[in-house]
Amino acid sequence: MKTLAVVVTTSPYSHLTITALTYVEAALVAGINVIGVFFYQDGVMHANEDISIASDEYQAIAHWQRLQQEYQLPLHVCITAAEKRGIACDSIDNEKINQIFTVSGLGELVELTTKASRLVQF
């Protein structure tokens, strides 16, 4: 079984994220089992509910949401990196975290890395 884990370190308003998204979608379309995407460093900005990307720009977050729903793709956001960037994770309702993301620790990255046959970073 071809299993893939992906680490994303670029923000939703970075054009580099488009490449990551295109790659992950191509993997899913090819039938690869993408066991999870782990958002780290500035990648955690994706989980900020209040991000407003201009309507004529690439809608990175909406595209991740589409992949998450179509393919049940797990999206993990690193809690330490998120708090550092003002995305509050400590309240019970996590009201500032976009609900398509699972709040995870770095332990989740260990889990993904040991399970995946390939790990790719963007």
Binding site: H15, L16, T19, A26, A27, V29, A30, R118, L119, V120
Partner: protein
């Protein structure tokens, strides 16, 4: 095959491509993507093409090069993102140089 190298930065701006080349093995492959496409015109690429004498598989994502109006070289394979996925599993591991 050994390692797949994803090269995302311009060698005219940063030292990352040079670092990639210093660990490159003769079984490895390279994919130029994003600003890595600019490296097609860098002297490091000329040296690489001469040095490897065809043993290293060098690829560029067509749309990324075309968006930047970069003419590509005949020694380089033009690929799409689906090919990058295939290369990912044709190699033992992936290193991203960004």
């Amino acid at each position: 095959m050994s390692t797949l190298h994803l090269v995302r930065q311009s060698a005219f701006a940063t030292n990352d491509f040079a670092q990639c080349l210093s660990v490159l093995d003769h079984q490895d492959s390279i994919v130029l993507m994003d600003d890595g496409c600019y490296n097609l015109k860098h002297s490091l690429m000329d040296s690489l093409i001469k040095r490897v004498d065809g043993t290293i598989n060098i690829n560029v994502i067509s749309s990324h090069a075309q968006a930047r109006a970069i003419e590509t070289l005949t020694e380089i394979n033009h690929i799409e993102m689906s090919d990058v996925v295939e290369l990912t599993f044709n190699h033992k591991k992936v290193i991203t140089w960004q």
